[in-house]
Amino acid sequence: MNEDEVDEIVQEFLVESAENLDQLDRDLVALEQNPTSRELLGSIFRAIHTIKGTTGFLGFSRLEKLAHAAENLLSRLRDGHLILDAPRTTALLEAVDEIRGLLALIESKGSDEDDRDLSALMGRLQALQDPNAVVPDHAAPVGPEPSLPAADPPAAATTSSSPEGATDGAVTGEAPTAHPTAPPPAAPPPAAAAPVAAAPVAAADPPVHEPVADAVVVAETPPSRPDPAGDPLPGGPAQEDAAAKEAPAAREGALAAGDRTIRVDVELLDALMRQTGELVLARNQIVSLADSMGDSTLSRTVQRLSLIVSELQEGLMKTRMQPVDHLWSKVPRLVRDLSSQFAKQVNVVLEGGETELDRSIIEAVKDPLTHLVRNAVDHGIEAPAQREAKGKPGVGTLVLRAHHEGGHVILEMIDDGAGVDPSRVAAKALEKGLVTADELDRMSERDVCDLIFRAGFSTAETVTNVSGRGVGMDVVRTNIERIGGTADLQSEPGVGTTFRIKVPLTLAIIPALLVGCQGDRYAIPQAAVQELVRLEGDAARTGIERIDEVMMYRLRGRLLPLVRLDQSLGLDVDPLHERSAVDIVVVKPDQTAIGLVVDSVHETQEIVVKPLSQRLRQLSVFAGATILGDGAVSLILDLSGVADTAGVRDSTTSSALTRDGLSDAGNSRSLLVLKVGDTRRVAVALSQVVRLEEVEPGQIEFAGSRRVLQYRNELLPVVWLTDLLGVPSSMGGPDERLHVIVCSDGTRAVGLVAEDILDVVEAAETVHDLGRSMGRSGTVVVQGQAADLLDVPTVLAQEGVSMVHDDHLRNAIEEMSASAV
């Protein structure tokens, strides 16, 4: 075997072992929850055994000894002589870490020798083989460990029942005892394999051996027990034979899987991906060429070509996709380590692990996610006593969830910990000089919480070695944004925190809708497109309403804020009402739907996303560029950026109408300004407004003395604000439609009738208390004019009462606001 071949084998071994170790991490943590699972134990044992077998073969003796020590403990666990408990799990996990470290050493230096002392760990692994072993979790080894007597790997492999091992007493004693009693064909190699590594550490061991029990153990092992690594081996005293034969057996098992999968260099895949991208572009060009030529034979051939290219592309995409499980497999172990470190109890729930993501994105998300998990365990979830004092279960829960949403994958991490306290964040940000008091005053709670993503921010009272160094959250956000994603958080103090990471599904090929705007075509990722609306004739002139500067369209009764693409792009804007038709693309970049007003709607195309040059990347409205079928370059719109540009996102004006309908008033301080009577102006907190309706006066009916409106199959009480405030009505004729403002607090609902809807404004700073009266909670100054601030809760309590016991409307309203979110 020449050197290259050896290198190749070592390389293969390293890759294979890395995978095995990842699996081990997962299995061990899972096993701790379910300590008797044979399946898990078998899998763990096999993984370690394979590593041990191969290292011995390749001559990495330190690694082999460590693996062997772990294997011995595992074999006893697997055979049911021991139950896996926390100290044993910890020791085994540590062994896995050490093995990983040694593998890294081999990878970098080609040797597993360094000056780290592994004897402590091996001693613990050894000691823990005793069923009664009382070894504290992070116990130091008992006594100093001399250099290993049987350090030579070949010696260790071939002298399992060597004299020194046999005479060392303690655990090694089991070897001579066990073998005579075990009928050769029945001897399960794993159980018998113990002594090899046991020998060196035995001297330092506390007297924990039970030779008799060991002997019984082996004898009891039923010959019929299926050996996970293959057939029962005619082992007998020569355990090294057993081990040696078992290893190939295990390798054969691996090969069986290897028949179906091969390892491919990622760079090769990337290159293939790029070329396929070019092929798609060329295909698109040929398709448009064939269309213009009208040759049926050519068209058929092109169609076929098109199909093949699509399949090729799809297949190649799949090769790059990995389930989110790849990310999450590391989480249970991480959480376990962290929670023991911080003396916390955390239960991890993983959901949606089958969601697939491009591998480059998985890579990019790995570190930020790890940081978030650390943060959650360190700062988020409280200590058990603290939790119980708050009436929460002592064991915290950390949920990681992945799902698709509009061409993106959403990764959520939800903890039920202390949450982010805006006042503490504010105080800290102030102290660190990240913001001024003045700025803080103007910030919403959400914006304040967002400060934790600023560089140099850390709220941890004590700086730990895991988190709290003030770097991290900003890095998390930067890393996510680098791949075109977003990271934000929602938190409720005392209840928990949700981190939401949104990343693109892939960076490569996506279907997109092409829209026209002033002579150029722009691509909108198809996944974000909800529907297309075309307003023609009268509808084009009257269908678009305005609240202040924000245009709205009533899409099936719900207000859809409109954004003009030309305006978002800083282009010249023509008056919409002069158009004979208005095309609206309803898109949902995040949680809020917006209507994008475009000049024209073209076809959909598969496009290859190409990054914009460095100097254009700052343009938040573009996600990239692509080449269309006719060879022209088209810009891809970043809908979140477009929505931001138009200011229709977050808790401002228009979106509040659809989004914050029933949610807390704290977030939104916007006021809906109504005209009541001839001159009175009334302001209603937008957060309490569910819908704005227009109804015919004839639709108002009477139920007893009350006026009601049939609304979603229920009767909604309707109150004229003129009556409520005692102002003379200035309503027009019987034909004039009524503006009904549907208000609700989630349990009660009422419709308020006003003369007109004037505006949506940000709440005025001060509420002047110029005396309260029915329905008024004060006076505010809105755009230089006084307006009555309507006391919606009181109105609801008095007028909305008849609706309360009816859950139906409530459900309808809830459903409505849920779907608006």
Binding site: L281, S613, Q618, A625, A632, V633, L635, G641, T645
Partner: protein, 163 residues
Amino acid sequence: MPSDTPTPTASQAPSPDDMQYCTFRLGELTLGVDVLSVQEVIRHEMMTKVPLAPTQVKGLVNLRGQIITALDLREQLGLPMEGDLRAHVVIRDEDEASSLLVDEVGDVVSPNESDYEPIPSAVPERVRNVVTGAYKLDGRLLLVLDTHRVLSEVPNAVSGRAR
């Protein structure tokens, strides 16, 4: 050598004595870029404009499946924005290609190092940002463009959030 596609020789070491420049005319100026940074020279191509982009960005061009950003340096160099520029000098820097729009592509020249002078500080900063120095040729100046700066500088950037 009025070639549209100067082929740089890879072995050429860019020692100061031996620098070769691909020259072109932009308005009344003669400009030169290191020949090694030039990928190719192309004729007018269909261009897609980029709204909200910095003023130098004229548009995006499809160069055999690769999207390159076309830059018009006239404003930055204090030249009048008159007429359409039809030739692209495609330059490459750190894996990213961009094109400089020019009036006319000239020769590849190797001027004498002794004729070189750094750009005087009297020249406006926006020019000095991209022009590193000048060769005093017969009857004209050859201004040396720093391609890296040209491609990475984003002066007068218009924010994407502009309305």
